[in-house]
Symmetry: C2
Subunit: 269 residues, 2 copies
């Protein structure tokens, strides 16, 4: 069975299912009325309400409210210890449980950083223990690295006559994404941004260029490569003596994938 569920289990039954699932390293879904305390890198308190709790095979825990992308409380997976128990209400369960005599407690602890998450339920509407198999491959395209690869494979994306020399070369202030030699023989430093570049990108590139200039007698140019630049950044680039080259990440994907004839786009419209 992929899924073992219980509707409106009593708190002991829910505790048994959850404990068992955590021990067997199975994912669990819990829907119930709970309140939550967190202490670790910060501290937080969440009043009573109905939420979805997900515990994953590696111990990762997520508490989701009915709205929003982010969990309200969580515990990252890895070295996490769990204590699950149902028992009579205690003073340490906080004053949230008004009329209830029984409480289900899930305590999740990790060290380094030391963090503790306490969840208290007075109602559990639903528990589901999952036995999932997932070996699917995940690929993310059009990353900054893909843009690098595309430029190295086809430097004319930037300008004619450009020859690439290296990439991600370390220099004093940080990293140069790509650099090469232009048709005039000048060193070209390229800073790549996958998204609209802001002034930070321009300033970073300026630092790179200065750093290279300090170690050579040759002319050094800086080119900011991005799908676009934020307002006012062109002026900053001009002041700094830098160039901008518009380049779409999706075009880079096409350059990389062209040989495969892989038309990813046809699945969308």
């Amino acid at each position: 069975m992929k899924v073992e569920s219980a509707q409106n289990p009593d708190l002991e039954r829910a505790a048994d299912m959850i404990m068992d699932a955590v021990r067997k390293r199975r994912a669990v879904l819990i829907v119930g009325r709970c309140w939550v305390d967190y202490l670790g890198r910060a501290s937080s308190r969440l009043g009573r309400g109905e939420r979805i709790i997900m515990i994953k095979e590696d111990g990762a825990l997520l508490i989701h409210r009915p709205r929003g992308y982010e969990p309200v409380n969580w515990m990252p997976g890895g070295e996490v210890a769990y204590h699950v128990e149902a028992g009579p209400y205690q003073s340490s369960d906080r004053r949230e449980a008004s009329g209830c005599s029984m409480v289900l407690r899930i305590k999740s602890v990790r060290r380094r950083p030391r963090e503790t998450l306490n969840i208290f339920f007075d109602e559990v509407y639903f528990v589901s223990v999952l036995n999932l198999t997932d070996h699917g491959e995940f690929s993310l395209y059009a990353s900054e690295e893909d843009m690098q690869r595309a430029i190295l494979a086809q430097p004319s994306l930037i300008e004619d006559g450009l020859r690439m020399i290296s990439y991600e070369k370390k220099v004093d202030p940080g990293f140069v994404d790509v650099y090469g030699i232009d048709k005039e023989g000048r060193i070209v430093v390229i800073e790549i941004k996958r998204r609209t570049a802001g002034k930070e990108a321009a300033l970073q590139l300026a630092r790179y260029v200065e750093s290279i200039k300090a170690s050579t007698n040759r002319d050094v140019r800086g080119i900011l490569v991005a799908p676009g630049i934020a307002k006012g950044v062109q002026r900053l680039l001009t002041v700094l003596g830098l160039d901008f080259k518009q380049l779409d990440p999706k075009r880079c994907v096409e350059v990389i994938k062209r040989s495969r004839g892989d038309d990813l786009l046809k699945y969308f419209r």
Copy 2:
């Protein structure tokens, strides 16, 4: 009913439940075997596998693999449009569905930024439609703002004789967290970090101090306040002529909460 579930529903039934839930703005949990395409700020592809899908009341969608804190694919809540349907396998459903003739499709689209998420199921193990009520209050303590408040309430946390003047005063390069006058009458600029401060914090503070110095004839000191400093930052501070004051965010919480006699810590050990 808080929860309406179906075990191993056929794909049409699952589609009906999900469509209905989305229309009624109810949260849904889906467990099934699926593959996923995303196109928007980047592009991604996820091969077939068993996962947990959560759609929330505001349209937020999360696809969780059996491990890890983060969803593998997602759609933030807000202005998201959904199309849900079950139907015969089509070529646009990609080659993942090997032996299956029917496919359940969930398509999620948002504009600005334009993003499309396509989920294809060939098996649905479980669907649950939730009717949740959650008005619980969430409080996060020991934020940077809490540290500000604590210092303003009790400047001796930094040093004796310090008087606070203002906080979050805007200056040229960004913001001053807090500033005041020390017992020698010098202006004191305080940069607060809730976590171990790195060199960026020191450099930012140096910029603040320079900015203040430029607009006054008085002596100006800079103090970096944080629970700790990263290795090598003390040397940088010395070079820059800045001070460091160790301050624990939890102590700030105590200062703020003291009057209430609120002992948050007793719930943990």
